[in-house]
């Protein structure tokens, strides 16, 4: 009798598990900011705004913010991930593509996924990973050896693991994937190695590839004529930062990187589509609906690699669906996201390579900004006036906060032959001695590009920014501080020294009626809350 009741209980438990609701539904992802206790995507929601509706931590009390816990990964490298939080469990990745699930209340590990990478993955800028995407009970990870992996969110077990491309040829993934409906979207890295870039979509259940969009069109395809000869074959145009998505328009917005070789346009004469673009892709088919190119025939490695921010504003009295983008080339752009129409461009940093962007959306070049044998001083530097670090848009203030790098480089031409899997840059660049890099967090009016306030950093930053309904903006600096700013004025209201340069974006969640702000720094993830 006793035996039978245990058996019955077991069956009941299994049945309950079977019918338990998926952790993250597609509908939840469509309206991610409605559940601000969670952080469901890399940017917090599909709009790329990195905005939290939580307001327990606010301008009045942020000065009392204190660490709640610190998680030490003990993995060296640049910790670039933005954690996800789903119902009290935090998920993040470390350098070398290891994955973790931790108790969001304490930072204690629930499971760990160890990625065994080849010893020589080819990644230009560190063995980094920027985090997971989630759907249902699954987490998705894109790896340095160019695989896409699905894990069981409850156990960390591998559900599927597919190879997207050959890592030995310079392909890698560093981004956090984006889940759209039943597909997981990823974009390849490798613009330093003459790969041919692409954005891929995989079926979340089977891992089967649903579509691929090559960011460099092949023979016979529109845009192929913008590449001299067969230069398109090694044309680069990687797609290495997470895109945004508009469920109403069913469009995915993905930015693309530099053409290869990054600084030598002479071997790839033409505009080099779709390098340095934002492309709008049909979410179901991956078909190109429109594109906008920020830097045609690039000579300075200016990937368009910043998360596109989707926002709706009145322009000339009419409500418009917009895409805001601060570009590595130093211009802030505003586009109509329904059709890609160019509306506005204005510099947000010091530039010396172009006068302005014309009404056709093309930059009006200033002479002598091309890399030369003797070296040419160009501002912004190769790393750009901004880079992959996330901007944030606060609907509360209506301001877009852009992490800005003020820096120039001397570009020196170095024609280079192409060897698969080897650097293919076409120049080297170095810092003018008299030019000390610095940076700023700048608040822009997205309707005009006008700078409303700035906070100066002593060196050029690599940290993303988060805005909250508490009237705050959080961002880190290279000196190790996480700083809380008054979103309206830019006044620094609180800072904490984390002990390592911050090269990640902050996020926020809540648990037990307590709001947390979280940042990765050094080998660690640090969570802050107000004292009890």
């Amino acid at each position: 009798m006793k035996m039978r009741s245990i058996l019955f209980a077991l069956i009941l438990v299994c049945a309950l598990v079977r019918t338990s609701r998926a952790q993250v539904s597609s509908e939840q992802l469509d309206h991610a900011t409605r559940s601000p206790q969670n952080w469901l995507t890399y940017s917090g929601d599909y709009s790329g705004r990195r905005y939290s509706e939580l307001q327990q931590i606010n301008t009045a009390n942020v000065s009392r913010l204190a660490p709640a816990w610190v998680f030490q990964s003990e993995v060296a490298g640049k910790f670039e991930a933005t954690p996800l939080v789903i119902d009290g469990v935090m998920y993040f990745t470390s350098p070398d593509d290891h994955g973790y699930a931790v108790d969001a209340r304490t930072g204690r590990v629930i499971w760990r996924y160890d990625r065994s990478l080849p010893s020589r993955v080819i990644a230009c800028c560190g063995r980094v990973n920027r985090g997971f995407a989630a759907l249902g009970d699954k987490l998705f990870l894109a790896t340095l050896d160019a695989h896409v992996v699905a894990l069981d969110a409850k156990t960390g077990s591998v559900l599927w693991d597919v190879e997207a491309a050959d890592y030995r040829l310079g392909h890698s993934f560093t981004l956090a994937p984006l889940v759209v409906k039943d597909k997981v979207i990823v974009g390849i890295s490798g613009g330093e190695y003459g790969i041919r870039g692409f954005v891929d979509a995989y079926d979340t259940n089977s891992g089967k590839r649903a579509w691929r969009f090559y960011t460099v069109p092949g023979t016979g395809e529109a845009g192929n004529e913008t590449w001299a000869g067969d230069s398109w074959k090694r044309g680069g145009a990687p797609a290495w930062i997470t895109g945004s998505y508009d469920p109403d328009l069913n469009l995915i917005y993905w930015t693309t990187g530099n053409p290869s070789p990054s600084d030598d346009p002479s071997v790839r004469k033409g505009d080099n589509l779709y390098s340095n673009c934002v492309v709008a892709l049909d979410a179901d088919t991956g078909k190109l609906r429109w594109h906008f190119q920020f830097t045609p025939a690039d000579a300075h490695d200016w990937d368009a690699t910043e998360v596109p921010v989707l926002l709706d504003l009145n322009i000339d009295g009419k409500p418009r669906k917009l895409l805001a983008h601060a570009n590595r080339n130093g211009f802030f752009y505003l586009l109509d996201r329904t059709d890609g129409k160019f509306l506005l461009a204005k510099p947000f940093a010091h530039i010396n390579w172009a006068n302005e962007v014309g009404p056709d959306g093309r930059p009006r070049l200033l002479p002598a900004a091309t890399p030369s044998k003797e070296g040419t001083v160009v501002c912004p530097a190769a790393a750009g006036a901004t880079n992959w670090m996330s901007p944030t848009f606060s609907p509360q203030t209506g301001l877009l906060y852009v992490v800005t790098r003020e820096q120039c480089d001397i570009f020196t031409a170095l024609p280079q032959p192409f060897h698969p899997g080897h650097p293919y840059l076409g120049s080297v660049y170095y810092k003018p001695v008299e030019n000390k890099p610095w940076g700023a967090l700048r608040a822009l009016d997205p309707a005009t590009g006008e700078i409303k306030w700035e906070f100066k950093y002593v060196s050029a930053p690599w940290s993303g920014a988060l805005s909250t309904a508490g009237g705050l903006v959080f961002a880190g600096d290279m000196e190790g501080y996480l700083i809380a700013f008054d979103a309206r004025t830019g006044k620094d209201l609180w800072h904490f020294q984390t002990g390592a340069p911050i090269i990640a974006g902050p996020m926020s969640f809540s648990l037990d009626q307590k709001q947390y702000v979280v940042i990765a720094s050094g080998d660690a993830v640090v969570a802050f809350k107000l004292p009890d």
Partner: protein
């Protein structure tokens, strides 16, 4: 399995007892020295004298080394001039290979994860730009040393082998890092930018030896050499070698000067002959440890 290992180990211990520690030490030294000389003799650059390899090495150098050693290997803000044939960590092919691939502890030279072929190409390139034999700097180093610690007052700010000041860079190994021409030019005009490091995405460093002046709340003005700073605090060494550590909130003003505290030594202070002697002294500084 484990038991067998234990048994084998005890055999070795018995052998050790038999040989005695002295014999053992001798044997080890003998084996090591044979192994080392064999390695040094055997490892030669397979690409030595290959002009094409040297050219390929120049590209590899620009990508991997120029960040610190400068575009043309003539020294950067962080790395020594490599065109002089001075090899502080060994100048044989094998030693250069080791320096490149394994780095040098206690210096900024890191281990480099590049292939053997690429390493040999870089060495071929370095051989093509460095003279086989070092030219000796003209001038009298003895007189130069007297000037350094005497009339020229260099030692007020610079240290050599533990003697001197702390405001400026320690010059104990400057002769292996910089050419005599560089040193002479830098003494005459210290603000001239002579070395160019390269930048890599994601890597930034503050300017070395930047001059900073702060004004405290009570109106005191203090000048020194910046050690570190951030948005909220600043750390510098004043001219009396005191470390000054402030929160910026406690300061009225912070001013940076894009020039060094080092004065220019024109020929009214140091004539050409004296300059030659001083440079000859500096050229001889190769990082030897102080003799007691």
């Amino acid at each position: 399995m484990r038991e067998r290992n234990l048994r084998r180990r005890s055999k070795i211990i018995r052998l050790l007892d038999f040989m005695g520690p002295f014999t053992l030490a001798l044997t080890i030294i003998l084996i090591l020295s044979i192994a080392r000389s064999a390695a040094a003799q055997e490892t030669k650059n397979p690409l030595a004298g290959n002009a094409k390899a040297a050219q390929e090495g120049a590209s590899q150098f620009r990508i991997n080394c120029a960040l610190c050693h400068g575009l043309h290997a003539q020294g950067g803000s962080r790395g020594p001039d490599l065109t002089r044939g001075v090899w502080n960590h060994g100048g044989s092919d094998a030693e250069l290979f080791r320096t490149i691939t394994q780095g040098v502890s206690g210096t900024l030279m890191p281990a480099n994860d590049i292939s053997d072929a690429e390493t040999w190409e870089i060495i071929a390139y370095l051989r093509s730009v460095a003279p086989a034999k070092l030219k000796k700097a003209p001038g009298d180093p003895k007189t130069g040393e007297k000037l350094f610690f005497g009339d020229a007052n260099c030692a007020l700010c610079h240290m050599v082998r533990g003697k001197g000041g702390r405001i400026g860079p320690d010059l104990s190994r400057v002769g292996s890092a910089r050419s005599p021409e560089y040193l002479a030019a830098k003494i005459r005009d210290p603000n001239r930018a002579l070395a160019a490091g390269l930048m890599q995405p994601g890597m930034e460093w503050p300017l070395d030896y930047q001059t900073v002046t702060v004004v405290t709340r009570d109106g005191q003005s203090i000048t020194g050499v910046l050690r570190n700073e951030d948005s909220f605090s600043i750390q510098f060494m004043d001219q009396a070698e005191n470390l000054r550590l402030y929160l910026k909130n406690d300061l009225q003003k912070v001013t940076y000067e894009q020039k060094t505290l080092m004065p220019a030594f024109g020929d009214d202070i140091l004539d050409d002959a004296q300059l030659r002697d001083l440079v000859a002294y500096l050229d001889g500084l190769r990082g030897e440890v102080a003799q007691k």
